[in-house]
Symmetry: D3
Subunit: 73 residues, 6 copies
């Protein structure tokens, strides 16, 4: 009866605006299989929720992601 | 001092695009009353946050919700 | 296919150490019914996860809960 | 290796539609510094995720935020 | 820069009290690889947090997990 | 009406078993002041919830934290 929440920055994907529906489907089946294989969890009761987070809303190293990347080039 | 987070798929409601403001208000009062009645929690310090999740971002049974529904018809 | 997370402070209940199993069961049925009644959600795919949070880990008004209560008496 | 999630209502900011990118950057550096100063956490592995929540999706006192404010004026 | 939260019921594992450290390590590498393979995410900045939830704190079908299992046998 | 969740690994602090109550109080006042100063948020309705996560439940770089540290020495 697992619940998995995956948060990624909204970027990349086929048109640069975030993961495609197909990529999200791959994450869903991938993590569901993982929980089945490692812990025997039933896929029928495994929930996966994906959140895309705008770049300005994600910080690391004390900076918004895009500023952080400029400084670590 | 409870904090409640309710995640639902973005669908249904009066125009098919998700719960209406009125339905959300019903969820807010309903869960606030529940915590008051069962645990004596003070409504003034009960927070409720509702998130609508796009269908392609929610997986169950190893599939995005819409694919899952087609297969379980 | 809702997912509900309820966070409460670890206190109260029959022995002062937090909600009893019975009180938690009342929260689970109450919020599941609420989502069914307001949004037509299927109880079979409604998940509810309850977290008890130690008092020193919950802050309000800039203070841990217990300090806050002393000051607002 | 902290992870911090900050949820605020989507309002205020320079044009009334929520915090500006600059304000979010101030939150990110502020909370990263706080964790470094209090617990010695490494800023390089401190993640901060900010979520703006629409007003109708946030409840307090059993009411959506805007209704609650009218009643407590 | 993904953040993944995996919630499972506290049960199973080698001694029935929840996943072992080794099983958790398999979840961590598995989901990190998945995000690398599907979205090209850098493992060095992929965080995974696992939460074990006591059975009485997890509800489905309007019942705590253990009651739900008895009824669906 | 902000809600802030701070997750840190359970380590450090005065006896090596995690942040002390006093350090948590510093996090609570610090983040509450930050939200007041940057966004004008009312401390009275600012909630802060701290979670300590066991080391084996936190992964980075595809490894549990402790393994990761050994490899990056």
């Amino acid at each position: 009866m697992p619940y998995v929440n995956i948060k990624v920055t909204r970027e990349g994907g086929p048109d640069g605006t975030g993961p495609s529906a197909n990529q999200k489907a791959q994450l869903i089946i991938g993590v569901t299989d993982l929980l089945h294989n490692v812990l025997g969890k039933n896929p029928a009761t495994t929930f996966v929720v994906i959140n895309e987070v705008p770049l300005e809303d994600w910080g690391v190293g004390g900076l918004p992601v895009q500023e952080h990347r400029k400084q670590t080039l």
